[in-house]
Symmetry: C2
Subunit: 225 residues, 2 copies
Amino acid sequence: MERHHFETDLQGLKNRLLNMGALVEERVHGAIQALMERNIDSAESIARGDGEVNALQIEIDDRCLKLLALQQPMASDLRLITSAMKINADLERIGDQAVNIAENAIKMLAAPPLKPLIDLTRMAEIAERMTRDSLDAFVRRDPALAREVLGRDDEVDGLKDTVFRVLLTYMMADPGTIERALSLILISRNIERIADHATNIAEDVIFIAEAKDVRHHAEEAAGKP
Amino acid sequence: MERHHFETDLQGLKNRLLNMGALVEERVHGAIQALMERNIDSAESIARGDGEVNALQIEIDDRCLKLLALQQPMASDLRLITSAMKINADLERIGDQAVNIAENAIKMLAAPPLKPLIDLTRMAEIAERMTRDSLDAFVRRDPALAREVLGRDDEVDGLKDTVFRVLLTYMMADPGTIERALSLILISRNIERIADHATNIAEDVIFIAEAKDVRHHAEEAAGKP
């Protein structure tokens, strides 16, 4: 196969990863929306409907294996395709978190609402945005955008701690809130995991672009200013 | 490079993955042990000490990329090496869970013990065993052992639900137990994630051995009896 075909196939792979990203983001958004609007039907539909995500994951993995086998790419193309396989796995696990959020929401929605969930909505917004931007950074080979994504993880962690403290106060003051507060704490952990996956994707992007492993703060360890 | 060198390199890769597996298993075991024995020093040492896991992950990824670039393997070797990269990522995330368990343990250990943690110990034993067996299945190309690992995930989920129900009862009966019970619930989720990663590894093993994607119950969907 010629270079021209390779570029076309690579573009096809990127497009499918973008589709996968849009799909899981939409499902995460829908799960949070269902929680906020107390819409059990919608939560149940998200909890059940991850077939499309799973099928896409298998298709994308297959595209990557074919590209590796037929093209035998070197250097940066090799890093791109193996990273695409990792990014694919992270996206699928973000999709799993949409299911987990929807399942935790269903448990909550039988009882009256506990409190306005402002911090949780904010956490989810940041995590969704991190997912979108990490994928954009991948497609555009934009390590600067990927670094921005890495910087936002601390904000998610801070909100997670706030949510935890507030809900703990509720539980202590009124044991009748314990079950609902627990579900909300678990949902905040689901969102935290989405941000973690987006962080993984951003690290892969920097690795592809700069052949430099930024996982585990390798940059600091290497004495970068 | 000749086939002989390739086999030697492949064996080296497998050995490093086994080292990585033994290391993260030891750290998970140590974190649970620290919780059970109420040993804060030991929990703190595990919470801080994931440098070795992280360095190994980078080294193993590097070996995989070199094998792909120099050997341009086809078919089953290609699946083996790309799966090794995924398995490497799952092992590193199991290592992250050891850190999370140790951090949650540290929060608990300032307060008096809550209850005998039998179910949690049992959950951890199963998850550690699943990790070890999934890796053994990888090294020995043993899809039957990998399928056994998949079967054990339900047991972990069942124990997680039991732990949740018991701790919920404690919290409802005595708000003074809420913080400690919450930490234990989060630890049970950390262990659940370890079992999830072992399940991912087992699915990769079946994929390598049989070129059949068993993720998302593809077997059932394909009408396997």
